[in-house]
Each structure stands twice: as structure tokens, then as C-alpha cells.
Assembly symmetry: D2
Homo-oligomer: 90 residues x 4
């Protein structure tokens, strides 16, 4: 599946980015620049979460909502609220 | 509907909280304490967004996913991803 | 002080915005539009926190860092880290 | 410096965590569980940003605030506000 490969590729890029941050810290690069790179990595991870959520809604959620298993449906809807809550807790 | 009344009540409480922060600023209360109160208000608002999302998933989304209007279904699913993205953009 | 008045004015605008959201909920406006308005209010509050942090750094923090009271200095620096942590906890 | 080694060690752990998420995606693990793992990685990265900010405040910031270079001081204070803003933009 295209999305799957795309997300794995993005994660490999992030891995390289994280090794870059290790080198920055090892080389005593200015703290604020390191924090900015970490921020960029967090954004890149966020993009992957959003991609996964998108495909989840368009597959598992549709099946669960159309299916007859009320417990399963409630579980799937509850999880989306939980994920939103976990991602946004201020 | 209970949820609706509950959310309006929470917003009234937040209104009072915001007036409190205005007084804090007017009275030159220590900056960090003001920031903490604003942070608490943001959390309280987040709780309302989560409540609304929860009831949205359990009503509009279920109807849209079970309905025959593909455009409507895609719109509803897309909006959830957008809301998640808007709420989490780092 | 200009900043102080500006922040109080912004909070008054936010109060009006929150009353608007109460009306939206009372009038059964579409959930996603309500969530978007709450999101806008959170951004507006964030802007105020940033303004306050900015003036805090340029006044209290400078005094504390230049002063001789080590405990006070450590407290002020610790608070900034705490505020950052509270605002960003994922 | 202990902090430096600690942060590099944390980043190595995160690298392993990211490879784990790649495997989860490759193995078609349930979407929500993948999102939760990504969320955990973002928290771990946040912890590193906080550590770096903490040592930055206790070194560079102190020097800049005590120094005579006004431009440098303003730059350092501005960066902290910017980092806060970048990390919290809702």
C-alpha cells in the first residue's frame, strides 16, 4: 500500500534526522538550533500520525461504524477521541 | 441535551476565569502566575472541544458513514483529520 | 503600560468570542465549526501568554539573573522551563 | 558533560523506538497503537528539548543577560520567546 511505504520512508528520514541531532549535540551546536531541529522532527512525526489517522478513518472506522458490533463501534470511536485528547493535552 | 448544557456551563465558567485573568493583569500579578492561569483556561477549552468531538463522532459521523452520500462521508472524515491537524500542529 | 492594556483588550475580545461559542452551541451550529472557533480562541490565548512571557523575560528575568540572590535566579529560570513544559506536554 | 551524554543516549533510544514503529507499520499493527507509539516518541523528544532549554537558560542566557552586548541579549531573549511560540502554536 502506497501510504504504508510512504510512512516507512518518512520514518527512515526521521531516523537520519535524529542521528543529525545527536551529532549536533556532540559538536556543541548552539542549543536553540538543536531545539529547532527537534521541533522539526516532532512536526514530521505529526504528519505521519495524521496520515495514519486518515487511513484509519477511511478503513477500520468505516467498517466498525457499518458493522453490527456495538462494542467494537464504541471502542473505535472512543479511541479517536482518546488519540485527540492525548495529542492535544495542554 | 445534557452535553450541550454542560458545555455552555463550562464556557460560562471560562468567561469568569478570563475576567479573573484581566484583573490579575490589571493588578500586576506575577507574570508566571498569569501564564499558568491562561494555560488552565486552554485546558478547560480543550476539554470542551473533546466533548464536542465525542458527540460529533457518535451522531453526525455515524450518519455520514452509514449514509449513501459518498461526498458527505468523505467531507466528514476529512474534517476530523483537519481538526486533529489544526489541534496538534507543532 | 501599553502591553498590559493590549493584553486586557485581547482578553475582552476573547470573552466576546467565548459568548459567541455559547450561542453557537445553543443554536446547534455544526460541531466542527464550534471546534474551529474554540481552536481560534486557544490561539488567541496563546498569543497573550507569549506577550506576557516576552515582557517577563525582559524585566523580571533580567533583574533576577543580574541580582545576587541565587535562589531567586534559579527559581525564575526554573519557572520558564516549567512554563515551556506545561505548554508543550504532548 | 552529563546532560550532553544523557541527551545523546535518549536520542539513540528514540532511534530504536522509530525503527520499532517502522516494523509496526510493516507488520500492519493496528493504526491506533502506532499513533500511540508516535505520541510517546514525541513526548520523549519534548523531554530532550526541555533539558536543552534548561541548560541553555543556565549558561548562554545568563552570560548574555550579564554581558554588555545589548543586541546579543535581545537576540537570546527573543529566541526563547520564539522557541516557546514554535512549540505551542495551536
Amino acid at each position: 500500500m502506497a501510504d504504508k511505504e510512504d510512512n516507512i520512508k518518512r520514518l527512515k528520514t526521521i531516523e537520519g534526522h535524529i542521528r543529525g541531532v545527536q551529532r549536533m549535540i556532540g559538536d556543541d551546536i548552539y542549543c536553540i538550533d538543536v531545539i529547532r531541529q527537534i521541533n522539526a522532527i516532532q512536526s514530521a512525526l505529526n504528519k505521519i500520525s495524521i496520515n495514519i489517522l486518515d487511513s484509519h478513518l477511511n478503513s477500520c472506522l468505516i467498517s466498525a461504524v457499518r458493522g453490527d458490533d456495538i462494542d467494537e463501534r464504541e471502542k473505535v470511536l472512543r479511541e479517536i477521541v482518546d488519540v485527540f485528547e492525548a495529542a492535544t493535552k495542554v
